[in-house]
Symmetry: D2
């Protein structure tokens, strides 16, 4: 997978009294993009828990630079890529785009957790298995962006 | 317009520690559906303000019955219809569906406001113009639901 | 307990481009008030699960009438009371107040759930034990409202 | 002002299916802390707009490191300080604490905006006036933290 694209219809309620997106919502969409990207290759929180006893993708760091605002009724896209795999962490880049305009440039660092043997309420990091890494090598789910794809007028007006 | 359909991909962060959608999010999606439905026929908060000085669609009442839960990574749909126009209010029905299963059955009563002449921080109701009512008679934007519509593989993978 | 009072400082991000509280946030605060009210008498989601295998307080219905708006930096209060106990459900009234002004008048109907023996992903209602009902008879946690309570200057400055 | 402290009662709905705070909520609380801190020294979005035509405190960057999780019904505190004033930006440090435990360590960089003369939908940065900087030199609003302050049992159970 090169880049996963999550379309987002900006709602009136996603915006603040300045009329632009309330910034924590971008992190909400980054998180949603991470979960949707993994789900697209067959992984989910429930499945990882059930099959491996993993708590998947707790966050270590999140960061964003805000370059241009988004407003109600705009459809934007979150472009997400796994930029880097370390032994126990991985870094996902998220770029919020409106057409070709970069609105927000951010990233998250996450890991795979399991209950700590000394204290089940704490987590310890699991070395990232090759099988997880390979999910993103072998599958290409991104394809054309929604704005390149054929779509009826009615569909476009409704896209979330 | 018979029924406007807003697809919603349920995020991990839309769910609570019981693993199901945190209920206020359904009202968030109902509100988003109302705004998207009006936007589909050419109306928005900004435009109504600019052209008529209206504050559009403040809420009087909202209500919902919760019949079945939704979970992370499910795509659900909000089916919205204007059920009834009164002289100064209108009632929108919202049904959250997962396939043919009704999850949540709700409605909102809203009005068109303008600043009260005695106190600009209060609103008074504007009699609903025929032109607004007719927007929904004359236009049919709903079309096929996303699950009936032809979609490319890449598109489908992004609405998992 | 007669009435539980949850103070809420309305944030900039709780408001929408019309400059008033985005309505689903009132349901968020109603839910928070229900959980805080039960926590004040010693009950929580985790404890009910651990001690009884209960899923506590899934929602059946929620409703609200919006009478006056709230704005950023206002401190409002949610006044919550269990109005009625039925055999398997209970009804909580929530009133959002700014001083003596009623802003939103709402209620929730909830129950105590347990996994259905035929399908653990469904819930069935547990008859409400007297012990739960009595929690609210025997304990008075409401006490003075925050605005009557003595508070240091520094404390008050943090609830502007 | 050395440090502004905003107490936060973590709600059930602020947590995700892993049972811990959904991370974008920390940014929501950081933003709330910034607004509450300025409000405590007499500044708000509405007032800045009315008196100076300023759009106050748009965000340039936000970042956080997540060190320990928070859970439902815990009261945490956001400790916020303006760390650095530049000619046109300022940096606010936010530390989410549970007692003496640092949960999340973050910061925001913000500025004061005014409509750009060439395009009123864009903003340009206003050099930060001494009068704004001095608000934080001259006033000490933080005082003791809420957990040091005398409070009745009922009050503590209700603190948001």
């Amino acid at each position: 997978m090169k880049t996963y694209i999550l379309p987002v219809l900006v709602g009136f309620g996603d915006c603040d009294p300045a009329g632009i997106v309330y910034y924590p919502n971008f992190f909400r969409w980054f998180d949603a993009a991470t979960h949707a990207m993994f789900f697209a290759v067959g992984q989910s929180h429930d499945r990882a828990q059930r099959e491996h006893g993993w708590i998947v993708w707790p966050l270590i760091d999140a960061s964003a630079s805000f370059r241009a605002p988004a407003r109600s009724n705009e459809t934007i896209e979150i472009h997400s890529t796994i930029e880097h795999w370390s032994a126990k962490t991985f870094r996902i880049s998220h770029r919020a785009m409106r057409g070709d305009t970069l609105l927000v440039d951010g990233w998250e660092v996450r890991f795979i957790g399991e209950p700590h043997p000394d204290d089940p309420r704490r987590l310890r990091m699991v070395p990232i298995p090759d099988s997880v890494r390979q999910l993103f090598d072998e599958v290409d789910v991104a394809g054309p962006t929604p704005r390149d794809a054929p779509a009826s007028e009615s569909e476009r007006s409704q896209r979330p």
